[in-house]
Assembly symmetry: C2
Homo-oligomer: 177 residues x 2
Amino acid sequence: MNVRTLCLGFLSTQEATGYEIKKEFEEGLFSHFIEASYGSIYPALNQLAADGLVTVREEEQSGKPDKKVYAITTAGHAALSKWLSVVPARDKYKSEFLFEMYLQHYLTAGHTVVAIEKQLSHLRDDLKCIDQCRAEGNSDEGATFIMGYGEAVLTASVSYLESKLVEMKSRAAKAAE
Amino acid sequence: MNVRTLCLGFLSTQEATGYEIKKEFEEGLFSHFIEASYGSIYPALNQLAADGLVTVREEEQSGKPDKKVYAITTAGHAALSKWLSVVPARDKYKSEFLFEMYLQHYLTAGHTVVAIEKQLSHLRDDLKCIDQCRAEGNSDEGATFIMGYGEAVLTASVSYLESKLVEMKSRAAKAAE
DNA sequence: TGATGCATGTAATCCGTTACATGATTCA
DNA sequence: TGAATCATGTAACGGATTACATGCATCA
């Protein structure tokens, strides 16, 4: 799924500027499974506008730069429906962390622990993000579904890593005896 | 992490051809968190050989095409150590499935169920793959770690989706009353 | 006889990230 | 005064996928 579809999908729920979309992708509901940079969002938005799938409205702001608010059109809704009617591609998960853990014998025990703790902190950040989204009142069916999924997966990862850390520490303690 | 590092990492555990590396990435231990096509693996291998990080040995086979077996060198081990000493980048997870679930109101209930069932079947395939790897005797520390992680995460996803399906069906039954 | 597995490779193309460019305001 | 936030955009670059090219053996 390209950035164009992602933007259009987001705009189907609310009007937004490119800046806001980026923020939503990295701090909001989608943060743990979507990524997009300004370098891809702004051109995508221009493309969507050129194709008549969204409209643009320029708004002046006092004390802040002007902004361009995008809103989905009827044609946009139709296009989105069509794109979504294709059963989605498989999830893509890439983990340097796991690859590194597989190659543990190359690492010192200390480095391994640091890597695990960093991974844990990323996972906890994502969990916190979901909690916050829930607190902010995202409660429609779609939001509930994806928050629940994220929570389930992230919680399982955290539990696993925590138990592994305990295991490693007790082993290290034994080895030190 | 680029394909070059991935290949070198794999070769640090065993000799292999490009073809075998691809297979291992898509059917083996790594299948759920690594992806690479021939179009990236073969050039990467040539690069590694040119840099002296691996050696190549051509083997003739009867009834099969010749193959090039790659093996890591001392310089390769050193380079890998260095690359791994950097704490790994954050995991990247991209899910069209979740995005589509967020936009459920665009979908028919039937389409949603189909999408969930397809997702479930992917997840179960990945789980089966891990089971098989375990059955085939991958039991060193690194392998155990990543198989356990994968299992924990995938199992949690499957449970979540299964419970969601039940929930949706009971709601549909109620609506039909 | 046609698909599948084994085996390697290249070129075109796509898509996205990174870095750069600009600029006002607010907060520490 | 310097960093962070708001706000939009382009150009260079990188990295990988896709499609193409080749060819033999085996199995259904």
